[in-house]
Amino acid sequence: MNKVYGRMFALMASTVLTMPALADEDQVKIALMTDLAGATADYGGQGAIEAVKMAIEDFGGTLNGKPIHADFIDHQNKPDIAVTKAREAFDSGTDMVINLSNSAAALGVMEIAQSKDKVVVVTGAGSDRITGDACSPNAVHFAFNSYSLANSPVKALAANGVNNWYLIVSDFAYGLSVEAAVTGAIESSGGTLSGSVKHPAFMASDFSSYALQAISSGAQAIGLSNSSSDTTNSIRALKEFGLGGDQQMVAFTLLINEIHGLGLDQASGLLFADGFYWDRTEQTREWSKRFYERVGKMPNMVNAGDYSGTLHYLRAVEAAGTTDAKTVLAKMREMPINDMFAENGKIREDGMMVHDMYLVQVKTPEESQYDWDYLKVLETIPAEEAFLPLDQSKCSLVNKG
């Protein structure tokens, strides 16, 4: 009998054995952690992997004479898996984790990074808490946040006399944080909120009743305080029930991939704020075409943020001459960010990387000349207006002297 158990145990042990790689002090190890295949893979996925690889290649592939090591970790959009795997990654020598789509995952990993003194670059999540009440000296928020996406369209429309709003809000933390940002922006620009409706997050597939309520409210602008499939489903429903004419549709979190999925017929006229548009300048076009050749789709602001964030981190490590988190973070804050993503981008004390944002509108099918020719850049919103002023920040790291 002993033999049987002995054999069983040996079998179990041999299948389970996996030694974490031993940390090498000199080698820079970065990890992309995101949703690689799930419902929010536009915020991560293959695009994020290639963006990080491109950044490493463009940097030269080596640092301190050793190849730069990158891991690609799937958190399956589950915050507890993110927290467990981040802990494991940091313990096996990872210096920096990037992307972290899903705000809950980002907030969880930020705490671990702070306790283990490592660097986190958030590009895939938008919660204002990341640089607000939950801010951390070890975290940098790179691409966008709900404030920057909500504030600019509201102000731009107010300047054109559109100031009566109706909101469709997804009833979860992110949707509510967008709602709060939008409501604040509406109030400060002297507009009125004529009503709002909440829907369960990622569970409602039928948006017709919400769309009808929004249309019949008669509000000049209908705002979508939701994300991913909820946003695209809302857009489809609004179009189906005849939104048009004088009612303006505004999305507060939208990626170019989602427009690609919807088609211009459905999305045309839609207004939103974006952190990156591939067809904006010569530099963005050059980079985006390289990205397109590798991934088969044009980059969105999160992909661009992944590239820019990785490159900025590597440059900071090089300048600092060490991977020590505190020194590198100080360098990251000190060095301006100048690449295809940001012009004179700067990381503030609350961790927000402030850069210009763009108010964009989706083209009509007639206006679109070539593949992925989807957006008109209406306005460039300067960095200091796009993000929450520091004196209103809830972050404890901000010195309000």
Binding site: M1, N2, V4, Y5, M8, F9, A13, V16, L17, T18, M19, P20, L36, A37, G38, F72, I73, D74, Q76, K78, P79, D80, I81, V83, T84, R87, E88, D91, S92, S103, A104, L107, G108, E111, I112, S127, R129, A134, D171, F172, A173, Y174, L176, A201
Partner: protein, 322 residues
């Protein structure tokens, strides 16, 4: 028989002692938490024959209870864990008292409804952090002397709790009380006609199972310093059913093996196969149900029994030939 059992215990303790040298300790902590959870669930489905579809409510509520008491009230971890267990036991008692009034699918639906109720309350409350989760739970110092910030100390605590929980379940099912539970599973009307107050036994089983699930949830929240809203989600209630059935219902080791299998599969395959993971787990589950219904441990146990019987037979034959 006794030898085999001692051997199993020695093996289990030795494996727990050696494992962290080979496997990342925090992964084992997670495995053990889910093993406790599945074992607690097994107490209901495997031994009492009650299919609850809402066990995540105990797992998650205990995590929040630990979080609130430790973060906001500054309780030490041992009291935090107790608070988690107590809250889960209370919910178990209340939910059990309501649910046992119906049987079969209606019972399962009531448990599902109550757990969904708790899920949506947690989702709407400001203090839970909604779907951002409850962050920043301190690990604290156990009994005022052991600093749990050290991963190995935490591992030791969870391993000890795991062994205690399994021992408790073993004692429960082999006690006269456990025999009554089995009687209820096998033939409820008969148990009633024998004079047992079946409802009381069921509520007690529900409460015990809830308390142990709470232990698992509290330990997980403590280990991760974080409580996720997913821990209350119905998908987790479904997962624990699957862990139990894959491993083997009504066996002590079955749920443990099932929990290890499912969590390891999720952990190692997710980066490689992505969305296909659910399909793979589904196929494994189907195969298991169709081909070996007793689960991994159940089938192995059967096989050992058979071998033993054959040995006994041949030994008897040899005796006869002589």
């Amino acid at each position: 028989m006794l030898n085999t059992r001692t051997l199993m215990i020695v093996l289990a303790v030795a494996a727990l002692a050696v494992a962290p040298a080979f496997i990342y300790p925090m992964l084992i902590v997670k495995l053990l938490c889910f093993a406790i959870f599945a074992s607690a669930f097994n107490l209901m489905l495997g031994y009492t024959g009650l299919l609850s579809f809402g066990h995540a409510m105990f797992f998650g509520s205990a995590g929040y209870a630990l979080g609130v008491t430790m973060k906001h009230l500054g309780w030490p971890p041992e009291l935090g864990i107790l608070a988690g267990v107590a809250v889960a036991a209370l919910i178990g008692f209340l939910a059990g008292s309501v649910a046992i009034r119906r049987q079969g699918i209606y019972f399962a639906m009531i448990t599902l409804a109550i757990s969904q109720l708790i899920y949506f309350v947690a989702m709407q409350m400001e203090w839970t952090g909604r779907d951002d989760g409850f962050h920043g739970i301190p690990r604290g110092t156990l009994f005022g002397i052991i600093d749990l910030q050290d991963d190995m100390a935490l591992y030791g605590l969870v391993a000890a709790c795991f062994l205690l929980a399994l021992f408790a379940i073993h004692r429960i099912v082999t006690s006269p009380f456990g025999q009554v539970l089995t009687a209820i599973r096998e033939n409820e009307p008969r148990a009633i006609s024998l004079g047992y107050d079946v409802d009381r036994y069921k509520v007690l089983a529900f409460t015990l199972s809830g308390a142990l699930s709470g232990l698992a949830g509290a330990l997980k929240a403590l280990a991760l310093s974080y409580e996720s809203l997913n821990d209350l989600h119905w998908a987790l209630s479904g997962e624990v059913v699957m862990m139990c059935i894959l491993g083997g219902l009504g066996t002590l080791g079955g749920p443990v093996a099932g929990a290890f299998f499912v969590i390891l599969l999720q952990n190692f395959l997710a980066d490689k196969v992505g969305e296909w993971l659910s399909v793979i787990i589904g196929v494994v589950f189907l195969t298991c149900i169709l081909a070996f219904r007793k689960g991994f441990v159940g089938e192995i146990g059967d096989w050992i029994e058979k071998m033993r019987a054959r040995k006994g037979e041949s030994a008897a034959k040899q005796e006869g030939n002589r």
